[in-house]
Each structure stands twice: as C-alpha cells, then as structure tokens.
Symmetry: C2
C-alpha cells in the first residue's frame, strides 16, 4: 500500500501527471486490487467479490457504496460508485447521521482540476481539510456505470477530528456538489443535497454455514394487505402449518419485500402461538382491530424477526430453531410494521419472511431470550436528558437456576428500544467482574433494529450476570418518558439468540417499586412542593408532577444505581420460575471492562494538509 | 530540528558511526544550541542561560535538570546532568509521581552499546519502548561535571501512552540503573533506586519587572528558633516595623532559608496585625503555645507567602503591596511551618522572608482575596472517593457590590487544600458562561503550594462569578472528611493576588446548612437505619454515622450541585458586607469552557519502535 501512497503523493506534487505516470498509476492500481483480493481471501470462506457488501446511499441510487473489511489491517476498503458526477461528491460518517461534525472525504473540482481530500465539517457544516489525511485514495476511474472511487480508511486514526469506526451501526452521510468550488473551505454542507444511510460497516468475519441438502422453504406473508394511509400500522396475519407437520428445524430465513414497498415495510416478525392454542380463526388486518381474534395474544413465541437493513439470517451449523410437531401450536402470526409517514394510499403488500427448514434435526435447538428491563413505568427517563442510562439485569440467581450445567451459547442479538434509544449494550459479568461484551451499539438507532450475528459466540455459564444498559435522549421532551409498551414509552431489550434452548425466555429486572415511592416522598421534602405520593395516582402522573431540577434528576439516577431490584426470571407465557424474585440485591460489579480505544495506525499522515490531485479525465465529460 | 532528527536516525541505522559522522553530529548539535538560544531570546527579557530553570532531582544532587520552554513550538528543551553515570538513568513524568504508568526516557547500556529511548512503564512498573518516539535526543556528551543529555519533548504528543505537559504542577520521576540490561523490556522500576520531584515546568513566559532604584530590603525572620523534634510545628515570631515607618510598597520578596534546613522549612507567611493593634508583646515560639500573646489572633493580613519550591515573587510594574504608615499596624507576625517527620533534634533555624520595598509608591495597591469554600463541616467528602469535587463560589451579587467599576486584575494565585486535595481550579464566569481559567492545577499537591504568577492577567468585572473547585482523594479514609481548620479536615481555597486593592478580602461559600439536615433525614429514610438527625449532635458526628452506600454518596454530590448557598462576602477581619447572604441561588452555568486538548505535533514518529544508539564514549569510563 505504501508504494501506492508514495505515488499519490508524487502525483500531488506534480499537478499534471504525464502519460507515463498515469500508466504507472494504473499499474499500481492493479497491484492494489491484488492485495485487496488477498486480504479478502484471508477470511475463512472466500467472498464472491473483493467488495462483498453493497448498499445504495440515496433513494435514487445515484451513489452506491461497496466495501470490504480487513480485520488484520483494521482497515476498511471502500468503493464508491458515483453514477451521475456533476462537480463533486462528499461521503463520510458522523455520530448520528448529521452533516455537521462529520468525518468526510470530498471529491471536488475547482473547474480546472479535480481533488480528493480527507476533510471534516464543523458544527456549522463548514468543511475543512484534515491536517492528517487518513482516507487514502487508491484509485479514481471512469467506468460505464459512472465514476468509481477506491479508497481505504483504518478503523481508528487517533486524529481527534476523525470518526472511530466501531462495531454496530454506522451513520453514513453523503452529499452532492452541483458546481465547482474554489476551495474546500468554500463548501458548507447546509447548502447541499445531502442524506444519510445506516449500516453495519464491520460485518462479522464469519463464514455462511452450508444449507442442508434436504432444505425446504415456506413463505409466511400477508396476502395483498392494503397498507393503511397512516404513519404507523402493525399488521397481523394468521397462518398455519400444514396438518401433521412434524418437528423441523429452521436453519435460515430471509425477508420477502413486495417490490416498491421497500421504504414502507419497517420490520416483520413471525410468532408461534402457545401450544394450548388449538385453533385460531383466520385474520388479516391491523393488530389493534376490534375484529382481531382474542386468542392471538397467546401468539408471542418468536420464530423469526427482520428489520430494515438486515439480510438473511443463518443459524450456526449445529443449530436450528424447532417448529412443528407435537407440543407446539400449528398457528403462526405474522406481524408487519408498516411505516407510512407520507400517508400513501392504495398500496398493496404481500411482504413476509421465507423460512428455510429441514426435517433432519440438527444437534441443538435454538432459543431466544429477552434481556433488559421489565416494561414498567417504574423505570423512567427525566425530560431534557441527552444521555440518560437505564440498566436491566439478568441475575446470577436466575442463570444459576435455569441454565444447563454446560451453559448456553449466544450467537446473535437484536437490540430494541423505542424512539429515544441512542445506545444499547449487554455485558456479561462473572464473579462481579465484567468479562465480555455480548453486543454493543454506541450509535444505535431505533430505526435500524437488525438481528446481528455476533463476531464471536458468547458462552453464558450458571451464575453469570447479564447487564443490559440503554442510553436515551429525551432532549426534546417536556415530561418524563416512562417504561411501557407504547411507542412514546420506552423499552430496553436485547433479544439474544442462543443454543441449546432452555425454558428461560425472559430475564429482566426493574427497580423495586417501593423505592420509587420513597423517591417521590423525598422530591416532596426537598422541593417544598406538592408531588402527589398517594397510591391512587398512577406512576406516570406522579412522574409528570416532579419538578426536574438537577437534584431530582441526580437522585433518580442514584436510586436506579442503588435500589434493590425485582426480577422477572420467566418461562414462556410469562410464568415465573419458582423462587423469591422481589427485593433482590443489585449485582455488584467490582471490575469493569476497559473502554475500547482505537489502535493508532503505525504510519500516518502521508501528506499533511494537502489534498490529492485526481486525474479522472475532466469533470464535465 | 528535523535535520538533526534525521542524523540521529541515521546514527541508529549505522551502530558505529564513523569519525566523520560524529563530527557532523557535533556540528549539528552546535546548530541546535543556536536555535535554542534564538528561541530563548524570543521572550521579552533575555534569560541568563539557554536553560533558565534548574532543579536538583534527588537529595544528593546526582541528577540535575535544567529546562527551557518554547511556547511557539509548544516544546520543552531539557538538559539532564548525570553526575555519576553507572549503567543508565531514567527520567520522566507521571500523574502524581508514581513510577508506574509513567512516561519515561531511558538511557541504558547492554554492556556494549548505549541506547536512548522514549519509553513508558505499565501498571506493574515494567518498562516498554514507546511505538512513537516523542522525546528526541539532541545531544549526549561527557562534561567535566558528568554526562549531559540534551533532548526535547512537545507538550502534547497525541500518543495515549504519553504524559500531557500542562500548566501547574508536574511530578518528575527519576531512577538509576546500576547494571547493564539486555533490553529495555528487562527493566522494572520496582527494583531501582527512584524518586520524585515536583515542579512547575511551564513557567510563565513573562519578564521580571525591573526593581526601583530606591529599593530597600527588610528581613523578617525567626532568630535561632530551635526546631521542635515533632512532625509539624507552626512557629510564630513577632516583629515590628521601625517607629515612624511610613507607607511603602513591597515590590518583591524572596525566601531566606537557613543552610541545611531546606528540607525542614515547608512554608512561611508574613502577616500584618489589624490597625487597632497598637502593641504586641515580643514572642517567638510554637503558634499553639499557651504563652502566645492572645492578640496575635488579630494578625492575619497576609503580606507575603512562600512555600517549598517557590522562588522570588515580583509584583507587576505598576503594583505594590502597601505596608507601614498611618492606619496600619506596626506589628508583623512571621509564621513558619516546620515539617520534621524524622524528629531531628537540636536544629536551629533563622529562616524567613526578605522584603524588597520602596518609598516611591507605585500606581496601584495590591490586594489578596480568598476564594473557595468556607471552613465548615457542612462541606464534606465521603470516604473511599478517589475524585470527589467540592465547589465554592464568589457570586455576582458579591462582586457587583464590592468591586470598583473598572474591575480588578488578578496577577498571581496560590492554591490551597489540606492533605486529600488533588486538583484545584478557579474559573471566571460572566452572564452564566465560563470565560477563562484563573488558575488550574490538575496535578496539584498539598506538598507544593507555590504562589504562581499567572501567564496572563485575568480581569474580573462587577457581576462576574468566580468558581473554585477542588478534587479530593479520600481513598484511604474510613470516615467522611469534613471542612475545617484541622490538618485532617479539608479546605478549598485560592488566594488570588490582584490590583487595585478593594475592601473585599474573602469571597467564599458553603451549602445552606438546612439542606444538610434534610440530607441526613433522607439518608435515614432510605437506609432504615438510625442516623442521628438531632441538632445537639455535631455535623462531623452525623457524617460519621452515614452508611456510605452509592445512593448516599450520589445524593450528597447531587445536593452540593443543587442546594442554595450561604455566602461569605467579607471585608477584612471577618466583617461581612451589608446585605442578605444566606439562601443565595447557586450560580447557573449555561456554557462551560472546553477541556484543554493537546495539539498534536505536525510531524511525529521519526523512528517508530527503535531506540537511538548513543555515542557517549563507553559507559564505564
């Protein structure tokens, strides 16, 4: 790579490269591609292309990003295809998709020459050249499809202006330059056509398990549902397994999205009804419809889940999700969340999920377990907080009682909050020491709730504690946001997919409610005001009357970090395991995991404070 | 500089430099010295040497450090003189003077060659070579005095393993290697003879004002005091100004330390008695002696203060500290703090302070004002806290009432806490916005309380707020540490030196005591235990019975950050200015100053992960 870096540097110093130099550059570019191919082949299974991942950035697909990850080099190789190149393009990353304080690469022209530079935007959107050029251009060429830029960036650069590429969601941002700019500093993102796309850049470097030879498929989908012309609809559709359908293993599933509805179908889940449910009347309509069969509420066992941005989901080679056969219900419920903010009318949809299953049962049954917080208003977030943390526990007492002696193995995870969720993390602790991250997303978005394969299977032993923390932003709220099912209430959940399956379906906690009563009393005492502490007033109402000064905020935080908890250590169907689960001590953590710090690249700053002159054969052609 | 860097690099690649190369290196070294001289001359007054600051590192003076600061390059030039070179030496910096987690340069030999490297020690004291070499060796040569190393280091390196050289106290560490080591990694600091020395490395780049032609001196010193053979003695000595001594201005003062007692004299202060005090009987003895004249308690107006490590103190050119003349007492009290932990007996001492004064009064009278916290147990630090912050305020109401219309100008500051103080900072806020740091020491030590000239005079206007925060470490305490006068109680004080003098001598705050009563009540309610809240029990006793769980800690923190305050806005002699000073609102801060971030040097990492081979003519000669 450094050889090419040197070339780029030289090209910069000699603004008009001679034909020989250009030829030499192309030669080097070929060498670069070979290196990339070798890097790509270092994974356990060879991906089909040097850029196995691809996503359109804008709705019109003018910009298409492909990428590959080298974990050994801790570097991402990007290929950005610009289908209609006018006067330039910018691409980059920012904390939550804003164009301000973004880490950018900019390809721009001053009308004479074209330039490529590592840049950043300040809090007003004004673009500046980075003193350290960490995005390194490897190639720029015209193709029949458009202008193709090849560049690389280390995960971390140790430049405080740069975005640190971490596990979890990355908010990609982009923008189009319509006219030449005299200099980079003349560009402000606020005047451009821009957008954002969420993606998991650091895809796990794991091989796709081979499907069994006897694999069959089954499509669980709505049939020509008329999407209601309102922002949010949960559509329920009942379907049933064939009579006499024996026990099978789901080994893979993938979404089926009706063409044209890609932006409307927000998430989908397939639930199986409880074994007791022997028949369900046919139904296809909004889940809140009065016509909905009452017994559908017993159909909550998750078989498959998909959310915007996710791809096919594969079970590990020895694992399958059991369905069918005796002791299980034949009835399934498909739930589709339609997100239709523009109230589009008359759109029909038959989206759903295609299950790949086998009759040859694999060694292990897979299970799904819900970690985090109980849905209760006792857990609340004061208004005007930009990073308030709530934490739910799965205690040693519960894992001791419910896990098999050899433990369980978590291979995938789906994080879930409602609209104010900004970060989610689950940590495994053993003997009071944090041992391992189960899943972490520091740029979590409630609009991008993928099921993610873990990079490394996490084994949970009896006596381990699983701690799930969610960070919320209630900066635009006037009242406290309480826990609950409503879209304006909050959740903190990690659905972990694991094997072998156990009876434990839910391992969550809430603060012991009596302490909230004492909290309201203390708020009263210190404010000299009347916050109703009478039991007939609901918890959300009592929260609504708290004056949110710093003391009441800090005291609530302190209480959540101190008060005993009430555990939900439940089998399916909300049945608790036997034992005392109230007034449990908060798990004590005596040693924490270190925060991830970026490894600074060994060599850096090839060409400080100078963009690279790019030879792409004229910007207007 | 980079030219020499290149040379050093080449010398490293060719382990035995030829004579010609050595000659060339010496030539470059001379060039380097010229550059340093030019840098030194960039200050407004030329210092006497290219290394104006010098300090012995160890008690035997085997190691002597000289240094110079280039604020334009943000770099320190060090000259380390090793008088007795055996097999190597290490020198560096760490947070509080520990040899673990220290940022080091190491000069060592493997018995054949000598090496110089930028290194760091881990939490076990094990030394590692730094992947980025930021200490750059400029010269190593033998002199008649010993081995002399010349090297430089930028203030900040952006290497997370490196110490960031900031304003305030720096804990220098050193160690001696007695034998060759095969490699740097074979060295552990725990097996070495090591030590620490505190110093302010970033001395203010201000010129020393010229003394007036008519300057006279006066020595205020104890006369052959017999230092008691106990750890701590405050020695009081009464002296008086000559009869008819008219109004003068002190323009400078310096310490006089009796030879041999340098390690025993910890700090000294000269106080003037209140104007009402027309006579004081002669006295020289411990301040807690029963023989001490009672009226000495009225002698608390500070004229001069010196602490270990400080040098001469100069007033700004137009400013002097008034003493003598009508309306002022002729009686002075010298207080010397003897620190005698080894109970040395029979040591006599005549240390004191030499005042330089002039009859030609300067334009402005100087004043000293006390900022921070009232000495009261209401302000307390729970035990086992490693970084607990207490904050004292000088409010807009007090500055509005007491400052002249044109404001005051702070030119020096002395930070003060007792033994658990670890950081002190005073920030000036205007209209709710933090504007400027008055003085900040993030590596503050109660054992190094210098009066420091500010790098830049800070002007305080009417209506400004001065916020003084102290960070304490009570990690080894079992009970709360309360505010008070005792050495085991705590203080949070910034003595600011300013002009023109005003009547305001003390501008400090404490939390409104009624809120502490409510705190104890709440502690009671939540613990279900009996913490006595009855008023006849003293505040320290009530603090002693608090169970220090996380909630009670966090709630106390929250209360200090919320409850109204009681102000002491006082003239001299503890007389309050007229007005209501209880139940004052805590000043609201809507915007904070940004944390200082190191500016990364433009070019870095000359020779990653390789020490420099040094040619010093054999290590054993």
């Amino acid at each position: 790579m450094s050889q090419w870096g040197g070339r780029a540097h030289r090209a910069m110093q000699v603004p008009s490269p001679s034909m020989r130099e250009v030829a030499s550059m192309y030669g080097t570019a070929v060498a670069v591609f070979l290196v990339i191919l070798v890097a790509a082949l270092q994974g356990s299974a060879p991906p089909k292309s040097p850029f196995p991942y691809r996503i359109p950035l804008d709705p019109k697909k003018s910009l298409e990003l492909s990428w590959n990850v080298s974990y050994t080099q801790e570097t991402i190789y990007f290929q950005l295809l610009v289908r209609e190149f006018k006067a330039g393009v910018l691409f980059g990353m920012s904390d939550r998709g804003e164009l301000e304080n973004a880490d950018l690469v900019v390809l721009w022209t001053d009308g004479v020459k074209d330039y490529f530079g590592d840049a950043w935007s300040d809090e007003r959107g004004q673009i500046h050249l980075d003193p350290q050029q960490d995005y390194q251009l490897l190639q720029a060429r015209r193709t029949p499809e458009g202008l193709c830029l090849l560049f690389k960036r280390p995960f971390g650069t140790c430049d405080p202006k740069d975005y640190f590429i971490e596990d979890g969601t990355v908010h990609l941002v982009y923008g189009f330059l319509e006219e030449p700019f005299r200099s980079l500093e003349a560009i402000n993102t606020s005047g451009l056509q821009t957008g954002l796309q969420r993606v998991q850049l650091l895809k796990p470097d794991i091989s796709v398990p081979a499907l069994p030879l006897d694999v069959r498929t089954m499509e669980i989908r709505a049939q020509d549902a008329l999407i209601p012309d309102k922002e949010t609809t949960y559509w329920c559709h009942v379907t049933e397994l064939p009579a006499g359908f024996s026990r099978h293993h789901i080994v893979m599933y993938e979404p089926i999205i009706t063409k044209g509805n890609e932006a409307l179908v927000h998430h989908m889940e397939v639930f199986q009804c409880a074994p007791q449910i022997e028949s369900v009347p046919p139904f296809s309509g909004p889940c809140d419809s009065k016509m909905k069969p009452d017994r559908l509420k017993y159909c909550r066992h998750v078989l498959a889940a998909w959310a915007l941005g996710a791809k096919a989901f594969y079970y590990p080679e020895e694992v399958g999700l059991a369905f069918g056969g005796p002791g299980s219900s034949r009835f399934l419920r498909l739930e589709v969340h339609y997100h239709n903010p523009e109230n589009i009318q008359g759109r029909n949809d038959s989206s759903g999920i295609r299950l790949y299953y086998t009759a040859t049962l694999r060694r292990y049954d897979a299970g799904i377990m819900e970690l985090g917080l109980v849905y209760t208003p006792v857990m609340a977030i004061p208004p005007r907080e930009t990073a308030f943390v709530l934490t739910g526990y799965c205690t040693d007492k519960c894992t001791n009682l419910t896990l098999p002696p050899s433990g369980i193995h978590i291979f995938a995870s789906q994080l879930h909050t409602h609209l104010t969720g900004r970060k989610v993390v689950t940590v495994l602790a053993r003997d009071g020491r944090e041992k391992e991250i189960v899943n972490r997303d520091d740029h979590y978005s409630p609009h991008f709730q993928e099921i993610r394969m873990l990079k490394k299977i996490v084994s949970v032993q009896r006596g381990d504690v699983l701690i799930t923390s969610c960070t919320y932003d209630t900066g635009d709220k006037k009242l406290a946001t309480v826990g609950g099912y409503g879209i304006n209430e909050e959740m903190c959940v990690n659905y972990v997919h694991y094997y072998p399956q156990t009876q434990l379906e839910l391992c969550k906690s809430t603060m012991e409610p009596g302490f909230l009563q004492m909290y309201f009393h203390t708020v009263n005492r210190f404010s000299g005001e009347e916050v109703c502490t009478c039991p007939q007033v609901s918890v959300p109402e009592r929260f609504a009357s708290v004056p949110w000064n710093s003391f009441n905020r800090d005291m609530l935080k302190a209480l959540y970090g101190f008060a005993p908890i009430s555990m939900h250590c439940n089998k399916s169907s909300a049945v608790s395991f036997e034992g005392e689960w109230n007034w449990q001590p908060l798990p004590k953590i005596i040693s924490k995991l270190k925060e991830p710090t970026p490894r600074c690249p060994a060599s850096r700053g090839q060409s400080p404070a100078n963009p690279t002159v790019v030879s792409i054969g004229g910007s207007k052609s």
